[in-house]
């Protein structure tokens, strides 16, 4: 069962079609990776799916509901959460506040929005702490986000997405800029999340992709050129030509 689908999705910036006629179908409960060379349009695709940009043409269907053109803040409420390729947190906030704000957004009610002290939302705070614990940052809850390491900021990035109790998690290069050791930790983390959420993953590190994905879609110049299981993708001649060239020859 597809939980997230795109139909002929296109986004043009002037003459450049950053995303070109993409038909994608994400099965519920799986881990679906999107790979492609730099500039293939992967992040633009995420920006379309989460409502940061409105598409030039085509449709996006989430859980049977057309969400094309829905603004980002509303998409988040439907249960589609994302992490960003470039760390995108609230630097002056404590780690706990970083996730608290995401947990509150998706909370059942905003009663007392402008009046009740924010430390008196026990359920929201518990959710926020759980999200921090999920990524292994529980002990640093009171530190400001700007004071932690890059690797930890990547984990926080993920925790913010988790705190909103999403149904689909879009992860944009969660291991970007991480050391091999930190990458191993991040892969373990993504693996642990697999099954709990439907995950769509953009990643450049091939070993990561091949080991965690259920399905892989390959983007090239804005278009989808192949889709299949990791084994099928590794065998696909067109993919090898466009993207894995160097790797396959080695």
């Amino acid at each position: 069962m597809a939980i997230l689908e795109t139909k002929n999705l296109t986004k043009a910036f002037g003459a450049l079609a950053a995303v070109n006629d993409v038909n994608l179908s994400i099965a519920a409960g799986g881990l679906h990776s999107i790979i492609g060379p730099n500039g293939a349009g992967k992040t633009t695709l995420f920006n379309l799916l989460t409502g940061q940009f409105a598409p030039s043409a085509g449709r996006i269907v989430f859980d049977g509901r057309d969400i094309t053109g829905t603004p980002a803040s509303r998409v988040a409420h439907l249960g589609l959460a994302r992490s960003f390729q470039r760390t995108n947190v609230f630097p002056a906030f404590s780690l706990l506040d970083n996730v608290w704000i995401a947990a509150f957004a998706r909370g059942k009610s905003w009663r007392g929005l402008a009046w009740r002290p924010s430390d008196r939302y026990a359920e929201t705070s518990a959710q926020a702490r759980a999200a921090l614990a999920d990524v292994g940052l529980a002990e640093k809850a009171d530190q400001p986000a700007r004071a932690i390491s890059h690797g930890e900021q990547r984990q926080l990035e993920l925790a913010i997405a988790l705190a909103g109790a999403p149904r689909v998690l879009l992860l944009d290069e969660p291991a970007a800029g991480l050391s091999p050791e930190e990458t191993r930790k991040m892969v373990a983390l993504v693996r642990a999340l697999k099954g709990r959420y439907t995950i769509v993953l953009i990643e450049h590190k091939m070993d990561v992709i091949m080991s965690v994905s259920d399905r892989i879609s390959v983007m090239h110049f804005g278009a989808l050129i192949a889709e299949g299981t990791p084994a099928e993708i590794q065998r696909d001649p067109e993919v090898r030509h466009a993207y894995l060239g160097g790797l396959a020859a080695a």
């Binding site: 989460t50 940061q52 603004p71 980002a72 803040s73 509303r74 988040a76 409420h77 959460a81 994302r82 960003f84 995108n88 947190v89 609230f90 630097p91 002056a92 906030f93 506040d97 608290w100 704000i101 995401a102 509150f104 957004a105 998706r106 905003w110 007392g112 929005l113 402008a114 009046w115 009740r116 002290p117 924010s118 939302y121 913010i160 705190a163 909103g164």
Partner: protein
């Protein structure tokens, strides 16, 4: 500073005996104005150069009703708050569509628009001469023409405003506005409609400005044209930055410094804005958090000196 509220209460008690009661009253009115601005400037990260739009509009409307219809003080305050909020909703709606420099210029331009309406509409506003003859009606049998009575009334309203603002900034709304200041894109991505929350901050700030506007009109018995001019908008930004926009109490300190300087030093030295300019340069260069930051740095320096 563990309990800044104790200092505020002490200042409220002492001030009318240190400076003229009228000046003391003006300080707390300006502080209410500053509290409203700081929700935008300090918490949401929006530099509004048009706060006198709401201050002045409220002063004119409530002043006019006080003058011609002899409405009671309570009703005048309610009108002021409502006009402040409504004008802020209108201006804010247009301004939040843009960000950065364009946002600032829009708040300024719309301020000018309101200013020229007030300037031209002489039959109502008195134009350059201002709108004189605004009464200070008695309330609950208390005679507000007595300066100390009026001072006490304003001081109470100021404390109430401070309490309300404290509740707001410590609520989830306060956190959301700060999240928008920190990172708009992420705030939107986790599920907050940034323009709507900015507008809400505008409306709340406008309500505070409106309250300050009516109290100002009642204090001086006149709405000068200046009350809706960009100079007034600039003054409140100035005062808030000098006090420290990063803190709830910054605008209060800023108001004391600004109003006290402008009233007492200007008598001795006509070029006093020069002094403000110097203060402003010092703040921008060395104490981005204003007096509040200078104060806390001084105390941490003191305590580190004592330890060694």
């Amino acid at each position: 500073m563990r309990h800044p509220i104790v200092l505020v209460l002490a200042a409220v008690a002492v001030l009318p005996f240190v400076v003229r009661p009228v000046l003391a009253t003006e300080i707390w009115i300006f502080a209410i104005f500053g509290l409203g601005l700081n929700l935008l400037l300090g918490y949401t990260g929006l530099l509004s150069f048009g706060q006198s739009t709401f201050f002045g509009s409220a002063a004119y409307v409530a002043g006019w009703l006080l003058k011609h219809y002899a409405i009671n003080a309570f009703f005048a305050l309610a009108i002021g708050v409502a006009v402040g909020a409504a004008s802020a909703a209108l201006v804010g709606y247009l301004c939040v569509q843009r960000s950065g420099l364009y946002f600032i210029m829009l708040t300024f331009a719309l301020n000018q628009l309101f200013y020229f309406v007030a300037y031209q509409w002489t039959s109502v506003t008195g134009g350059e001469d201002g709108m004189p003859g605004i009464p200070r009606p008695a309330f609950l049998g208390i005679d507000f023409t007595d300066p100390l009575n009026y001072y006490a009334f304003i001081a109470l309203l100021f404390l109430a405003s401070l309490w309300v603002m404290k509740r707001i900034v410590e609520s989830p709304l306060g956190k959301i506005l700060q999240a928008i200041r920190e990172n708009e894109v992420r705030a939107e991505a986790v599920g907050y409609s940034v323009p709507r929350f900015k507008l809400l901050a505008f409306v709340i700030g406008g309500a505070f400005s409106g309250l300050a506007g009516v109290l100002y009109a009642m204090l001086f018995g006149i709405v000068p044209l200046e009350a809706i001019s960009f100079v007034f908008s600039g003054n409140v930004v100035f005062a808030t930055l000098i006090g420290g926009s990063g803190s709830l109490y910054g605008p209060i300190i800023g108001s004391i410094v600004f109003i006290w300087l402008s009233e007492s030093v200007s008598v001795i030295w006509a070029r006093w804005p020069l002094l403000l300019g110097v203060a402003f340069v010092i703040v921008v260069l060395f104490f981005r958090g204003g007096v509040v930051e200078a104060w806390s740095r001084f105390w941490s320096w003191q305590s580190s000196r004592q330890r060694t």
